[in-house]
């Protein structure tokens, strides 16, 4: 991996950090939204569903631009967060994580929602007749049974976050050491003649990371189904 210079390694570590933070931060929200969409009926349910899926169907550049408008230094949400909590997204790695999280969100919600829909609500009824509160049912029956779905959603979200390009480059550009991730680094290197070895190195790292995530999810899923009695 001599082809990879310090700048490339920085991009790799940054990518991992961005994807990990994006996945972990959006996972609880995705689980909650998936639960609401799978189990509750309320006015505006379709609207919420559409809103969640928007990043999936919009051109990523548009999503990135909207993020820039809303979360940029001058943006209404961005300036509020900056002044109140000192959290800034503009041209920082946190912005890359935000963009990756938003883009991965619909995929996570879809996978987790399928998980919720696969849980027999009869089991929840049974738990209620045994005296369990809604919260206890959620944490002892529903969530443990949705765990494979949550895991699938998280892996899918992580892979998507790792590969996010359009929204990220639009929102936070590709500043080496700040916001340059593997995809934006590859794109950058392709603009410079003679950097093909570095490109190849990053491509191989991408493949290794993606395969690793897939294998890990397979392994975890198998362990979990074994725990449920190996169906």
């Amino acid at each position: 991996m001599d082809a990879l210079g310090p700048q490339e390694w920085t991009a790799i570590w940054l990518s991992l950090r961005v994807a990990l933070v994006a996945t972990l931060a959006s996972l609880p929200v995705a689980v909650w939204i998936a639960y609401v969409l799978a189990r509750k009926t309320f006015p505006g349910r379709q609207l919420l569903n559409g809103l969640v899926h928007l990043p999936l169907v919009l051109p990523p550049v548009v999503t990135g631009y909207l993020l820039l408008v809303l979360f940029g230094q001058q943006g209404p949400i961005g300036s509020f967060l900056d002044q109140t909590f000192g959290i800034s997204f503009a041209f920082r790695w946190t912005g890359a994580a935000l963009a990756a999280g938003i883009m991965a969100f619909p995929l996570m919600v879809r996978a987790i929602r399928l998980g919720f829909e696969a849980v027999d609500s009869g089991l929840e009824d049974a738990a209620a007749t045994l005296g369990a509160s809604h919260l206890r049912i959620l944490f002892t029956v529903t969530l443990p049974l949705v765990l494979p779905g949550i895991l699938a959603g998280a892996i899918l979200g992580f892979a998507k976050a790792l590969g996010e390009f359009g929204a990220t480059i639009t929102f936070v550009a590709a500043i080496p050491g700040q916001t340059q991730t593997i995809p934006t680094a590859i794109y950058g290197l392709l603009q410079v003649p003679g950097r093909e070895p570095a490109v190849l190195g990053l491509v191989i790292v991408s493949i290794i990371l993606a395969m690793g995530a897939l294998l890990m999810s397979e392994w975890l899923a198998r362990r979990m189904s074994k725990r449920l009695g190996g169906k």
Partner: protein
């Protein structure tokens, strides 16, 4: 049959249900009261049986009415009472067991509480299953665990929705004695949904017959099942009286058991418990043959002198005949042609012939 002594034993009304619910085009409008013991809700599938127990458990909210169990008002539309399911203390045994697949038998059992755990585990024979996972259990074992789980949350009523319907005959035979023990040892009322008359006859004290969302008849099992007019309501196959007998002797050499009832003795195949034990026997109405003279040279072992108490003409070719054998009621179903040819009339002394093998093992309970 359930005489006055049973009613006294049962005491006051434990369950009082009067509910209305519109379910699409289906209207449920059910009203009945039941004493302690097992109350069977009997009817064909789609008659609304499960909706009734779901309403008691709080899984289905009635449009109107009230549900009272013991001293607790679970639901009362007028008084705006609607206890949430988790506060109703209804032990519910579902047809499909609904064990939590990610928990061991032990954790399933303890999920709702550990009330009287040792005794319940012992009664239901769950000792050797505690460390197993639900997916590794047989259907019968699953239902036993589900039953134990429901009981260990210390319910004030036990709801059982066709708990044996998904099981084959040997598994049913394996579980029925456990349910009988529970009925006799655990002092809580049981609502038992079933479309299988032999189960009902074995287990129930009270029967509520439901058809198309309405109660068509109800009362003590012995009384309802021996009413000729109940035959069309129960269906020809399900009709048949239940008589209480005592084991009087074992004819071990040919595998038969002699049972005494109020009017004499009958013999049935199989070894049916110990001497002196009370045994409930359901005699299917379609398996009773009537004769005006004591028959000679026939293979049937049981010829009972009886008095005709009632003759009920139905719409079809069949006639239901109510009979008194000693103090016990029997029910026979013969064709209209036979009834006319024999000139059957109320008050006549005739003979009822019961083939010993007509009473299957599933019709005999303790």
């Amino acid at each position: 049959m359930a005489g006055p002594s049973d009613v006294e034993k049962a005491g006051r009304q434990m369950i009082s249900i009067a509910i209305k619910k519109q379910l699409g085009a289906f209207q449920l409008d059910v009203q009945f009261e039941a004493p302690m013991g097992v109350t069977a809700i009997f009817g064909r599938s789609g008659s609304g049986k499960t909706s009734v127990v779901n309403a008691v458990a709080g899984l289905l909210r009635p449009d109107d009415g009230q549900i009272i169990v013991g001293d607790t008002v679970l639901f009362d539309r007028a008084a705006k009472v609607d206890l949430p399911t988790q506060n109703r203390r209804t032990g519910y045994v579902f047809q499909d067991a609904r064990l939590f697949p990610h928990m061991s038998v032990m954790r399933n059992l303890a999920y709702g509480g550990t009330h009287d755990a040792e005794r319940i585990i012992q009664i239901l024979g769950l000792d050797s299953l505690l460390d197993r996972m639900p997916n590794s259990l047989s259907g019968g074992e699953r239902q036993r665990v589900a039953l134990g789980r429901a009981l260990m949350c210390d319910p004030q009523i036990l709801l059982m929705d066709e708990p044996l319907a998904a099981l084959d005959a040997p598994r049913k035979a394996e579980i029925l004695p456990y349910i009988e023990r529970l009925r006799d040892e655990v002092q809580i009322p049981i609502l038992y949904v079933s479309h299988d008359m032999s189960e009902v006859a074995r287990l129930a004290t009270t029967i509520v017959v439901i058809d198309a969302g309405h109660v068509v008849t109800s009362g003590p099992v012995g009384t309802v099942l021996s009413q000729p007019e109940a035959v069309p309501l129960l269906g020809v196959r399900a009709a048949g009286a239940v008589i209480e007998t005592t084991v009087a002797g074992r004819l071990l050499d040919d595998g038969l058991t002699e049972l005494s009832y109020s009017g004499g003795r009958i013999v049935l195949p199989g070894i049916l418990g110990v001497l002196g034990q009370t045994v409930r026997v359901r005699v299917p109405a379609q398996d009773v043959i009537l004769a005006k003279e004591p028959p000679v040279g026939i293979s049937a072992l049981n010829v009972l002198p009886v008095t005709i108490t009632r003759i009920e003409h139905g719409r079809g070719p069949g006639v239901a005949v109510g009979l008194l054998a000693g103090n016990d009621h029997l029910l026979a179903r013969v064709t209209r042609r036979s009834a006319l040819r024999m000139e059957l009339a109320v008050g006549q002394q005739i003979y009822a012939i019961i083939k010993a093998t007509a009473v299957g093992p599933e019709d005999i309970g303790s």
